[in-house]
């Protein structure tokens, strides 16, 4: 099945004065995916998101959501997008239920729908016990979770979260990521962040923004496969056993290089799939106990550093 692009961005450019923030940026987000939008602080993530939401005007280029063009100052695409800014600001004199009612009414939802969505979402984000407390007493984590609830109140097809975890403590971060994993069953998510472990936990596609363009873009597993080097990591029972084997391994015709430290050996081969079996066979001939064997996966961090550097 061919998945359709829910969000497509083409040739987007934006500068503030002399500073060019976005330079002919193009990418697509597939329906049902969680897209990680990665970049340094100031790389233009927030600018891109504000243009998608219609809060900023691009100098050139276009944004389409389900084929409908986004225009600055118009509200045609608002019902399809839920937006959570990096630091959401609320009316402190409202409680969560009142706030959700306000945005629901602005989104032209029926009172019954607002009511059912409110109770469902407050439970989803875990705020049902604080629903009648004034928002001014909320912690940052609670405000982020209310932010998810308000962004989902009108059942948008695309949820846009700008650095949702950066202001949170480790517990709050973990909670929010767990919440995003639940949310992905309902809607497509575009998530900006500079925390790579967050991306590896929840995203299936990524775009790395650098110099106003995407420096790396694609599905996370495909990117990793494409950048996989033919390296095997073997963990032996002792450092002595590892040292003893290093020299004989290097003697094998398909082994290019052997490295490592302690009880691990990293072996570069011509082709992991074909040569991996031979390495294992050789090790069992040598009567050594192998504790762990795996093919080295490139981490997102190494990919990121490769393209940024």
């Amino acid at each position: 099945m061919i998945k359709m692009a829910l969000l497509s961005i083409e040739g987007l450019s934006k500068s503030f004065g002399a500073l060019q923030v976005l330079n002919n940026l193009s990418f697509e987000v597939e329906q049902g995916s969680v897209f990680g939008f990665i970049g340094k602080n100031g790389s233009g993530k927030t600018t891109t998101m504000k243009i998608i939401v219609g809060l900023l005007k691009a100098q050139s280029g276009s944004v389409h959501i389900s084929g409908v063009p986004v225009k600055y100052g118009e509200t045609k695409t608002n019902h399809m997008i839920g937006y959570l800014p990096d630091v959401p600001e609320y009316y402190g004199f409202f409680n969560a239920i009142e706030y959700l009612r306000l945005v629901g009414q602005i989104a032209n939802m029926s009172p019954a729908k607002i009511k059912s969505q409110t109770s469902e979402l407050l439970e989803l984000v875990g705020l049902q016990d604080s629903a009648k407390r004034k928002i001014r007493g909320y912690s940052r984590g609670m405000k982020q979770r209310l932010g998810i609830a308000q962004a989902l109140i009108h059942e948008p097809t695309l949820l846009i979260c700008d650095e949702p975890t950066s202001a949170l403590d480790p517990q709050g971060r973990s909670d929010l990521l767990g919440l995003l994993e639940l949310v992905r069953q309902r809607t497509t998510v575009l998530l900006s962040t500079h925390i790579l472990t967050d991306v590896e936990r929840v995203c299936d596609a990524v775009g790395v923004l650098d110099g106003g363009k995407l420096a790396l873009y694609g599905k996370l597993d495909e990117l990793k496969a494409a950048h996989r080097r033919d390296t095997i990591v073997i963990e032996m029972e002792s450092a002595a056993a590892a040292q003893r084997l290093a020299q004989p391994l290097l003697g094998l015709p398909f082994v290019q290089q052997v490295g490592g430290g302690g009880n691990t050996l990293t072996i570069d081969v011509h082709n992991v799939t074909a040569n991996g079996r031979d390495v294992l066979a050789f090790l069992s001939e040598q009567d050594s106990t192998v504790r762990a064997y795996h093919v080295l996966e490139p981490s997102l961090e190494s990919l990121y550093l490769d393209v940024i550097a």
Partner: protein
Amino acid sequence: MNGFLPFLKKEITQTLRTYKLLILVLVLVSFAVMSPALARFTPEILQLSGIEGMIALPAPVALDSWIQFYSTTSQMGILALMLIYGGILSGEKSKGTLVLPLTHGLSRSAALLAKYLVSVGGWTVSLALAALVNHLYTLYLFPGEEVAFVLGGLASFWLCGVFLLSLVPLSSVLVKGSFGGLALPGGVLFTLLVLMIFPDLFSFNPLLLASSPLQVMAGVDEWTILLPALITSAVTSAVAVAAAMVLFRRSSL
């Protein structure tokens, strides 16, 4: 104008829950309680403090209580009004609380208009209550005395407040910061106060609406002397609010 009614409801809730309306009402009503008493008892107070002989005071009449009311309300009252409602749009702009409602489709014009109307509503309610209190106390202290043009005078004075409030949204759009909404009204108020030195030269001065009604009430002038100032105030208010809406739509948040 999408989202106007829900946002208007939010603004009303806000002006009530943050005690803005309560404070304005209490301040204006306290002036309304003081004014008739000051008008009525000043001769006695002066007499008892022994400086009676120095100034010969005529016996106070009901009009004096309104003169006192206009004098305090047009100064301290207008100051309180502007302080309380001057940050109504600037505050949201600088805090960023408008972002989420806007992403849900709230029209900027609707937000601006709702805020303006609530500030005008706050002024209307507090001025009406204060005037009622002043009227009742005047009746109590000066029984049987009638004052002409009380309602007409109040309507003129009300329009003067509306005029100043209508500069707040425009100022908030043009000037950044949490008190940006006070820049333009402050500047205009200062200029008009200077022009008040020549009331005959500048009969259009909206600030005349806070003092000239007393001349009509005293029977010195016809109400038509207020006409130029009434027209300027009404037209300027409408233009200022419309301009603020147009500029707000184009400005970035």
